[in-house]
Symmetry: C2
Subunit: 149 residues, 2 copies
């Protein structure tokens, strides 16, 4: 889909605060809210806007630890291994990558004990993975609200 500067302005605003009323978006970009509504609907349908999500503080809901997990897959068993990962509740993202790891996973756990159990019982010890490395997140120094548009 072709996006013009007006579309991009709308995206910037909704990326920063997805609950901004369309009427206020309209005010800021100097258009009617009907136009904003129309453009947003088109971007939703085209898949430019994939959704709107509340950003929850992980600690406040009981997740004291998060980590990046690098994995090396066994040849020929990639699909089931990936499906297995996606089924684990603590797994938030699964990416295929080049470089040292075939798969990069973002996981959240209640505490280090829970992380240990997750890794040993449900990831590293699982068939389909040859090798793993857990990189525990000590802190997040910076996190943008979205992409520069």
């Amino acid at each position: 889909m072709e996006l013009d500067e007006t579309d991009r302005q709308i995206l910037r605003i909704l990326q920063e605060d997805a609950r901004t009323p369309f009427s206020e978006v309209a005010r800021r970009i100097d258009m009617s809210s009907a136009t904003v509504h129309d453009r947003v609907s088109r971007m939703e349908e085209a898949g430019v806007i994939k959704g709107y999500h509340a950003d929850i503080d992980a600690r406040e809901v009981g997740y004291g630890v998060s980590a990046f997990v690098g994995l090396r897959t066994d040849q020929g068993r990639e699909d089931e291994a990936l499906a297995h990962l996606a089924g684990l509740p603590e797994v938030k993202e699964v990416h295929l990558t080049t470089g040292e790891w075939d798969v990069m996973v973002r996981v959240y756990a209640e505490d280090t004990d829970a992380l240990r159990e997750l890794m040993f019982d449900h990831i590293a010890g699982t068939e389909g993975f040859a090798r793993s490395q857990t990189m525990v997140v000590l802190g997040t120094d910076y996190e943008a609200d979205g992409l520069p548009i």
Copy 2:
């Protein structure tokens, strides 16, 4: 902040779709919208809800490539190195980690040429970093809307 099951239900709904009208949230959890409003406000103030963000398809806005970048910092120059990273528009997240890398960065670039320029001119070649590894994301197999609450 103490969260009860009602709070968690609200969080689940807003994590999945942050633009859900409070009136509908109220309907779903069988309470009044005044109550939903009140609880959401308290969770926002307490920092449980950090924000609401539209989820934009990176490709649709011109980011054809993303990558994880692992970095090893020089001793004693961590702070300026991290501040430098946070100032780059292509950098979306900067995490301090244990394991092979001191810093794990998530970057987005227009194409491989732009990624190359970002890495050589603005990250790997920068003072404060001793070593780096770029893990290009070939695909994202799974991405949850939020945390399991």
